[in-house]
Amino acid sequence: MNQQKGRDYRELVKQRSPKSKTVLMCFKAFLVGGLICSIGQVVQFIGTSALNLSEEDVAAFTAIVMVFLGATLTGIGIYDKIGSFAGAGSVVPITGFANSIVAPAMEHKPEGYVMGVGAKLFSLAGPVLVYGISSSILVGLLALIFP
């Protein structure tokens, strides 16, 4: 009876797995992504209440602290472990941007400090900056034309 149940269960898993895997990954991404953003919110609170920073300075402060956390956790090898659990939950936050800078630079260190570390820092961050900065200039110019 138990064996029968086990077999049924395994078949059920096989049938359902592609779809439920997506659902499970979404749940994990939600959990970890939400948690990282909550940490950002706490950092923001600290910047506003404890350090009395202005609204714009708080945004910069939060970005710097989160990037520091993302870069350091990548360096000591913890962020990759979070990433294999969380999927997009670790990619989408700005800590994931920091991870995308450190990981390839570390990987390509044997190629030297200029073309290895220096260039590979931007292998993923480069495209992000290219598209982000270009579109922001475009949007700024459009704001001039259509106030």
Binding site: A29, G34, L35, G40, A59, A63, T74, V91, A105, G132
Partner: protein, 121 residues
């Protein structure tokens, strides 16, 4: 500490990550493309005035994801363009994100120098 704000940052931030996960799982977009897509999306949603309400509601839940990086870029560029004209459109975006970009380069470089990769991809 504003607990409601903390809760909302969790929900909104988690929600934005779920959109990213759905794109990865269902469309086979690579994480690199997700990052580029989210920044660009953040810029244009901000320009259309659609992202600011999300930031007002979700705080860090909306600013910590990469769409929030796009929000900062666009907000800075639009504000500076209105104040300083064409020059502002060029300088505003990077000015408002300078802290994050500089930190990413600096801490990124330091960590890459100090550590070796633990896992092979």
């Amino acid at each position: 500490m504003d607990w409601m704000k903390l809760f909302l940052s969790f929900i909104i931030g988690g929600g934005i990550c779920v959109i990213g996960q759905l794109l990865i799982s269902l469309t086979k977009l690579t994480p690199a493309r997700i990052l580029v897509l989210f920044v660009t999306l953040g810029v244009f949603l901000t320009a259309l005035g659609l992202y600011k309400p999300l930031v007002d509601l979700g705080g860090a839940g909306a600013t910590v994801p990469l769409t929030g990086f796009g929000y900062s870029l666009a907000k800075g560029a639009i504000k500076a363009a209105k104040e300083d004209g064409v020059l502002g459109a060029f300088t505003g975006g990077i000015k408002s994100t300078a802290g994050g970009i500089a930190a990413a380069v600096f801490f990124g470089y330091l960590n890459a120098l100090l550590f070796k990769p633990k896992t092979k991809k």
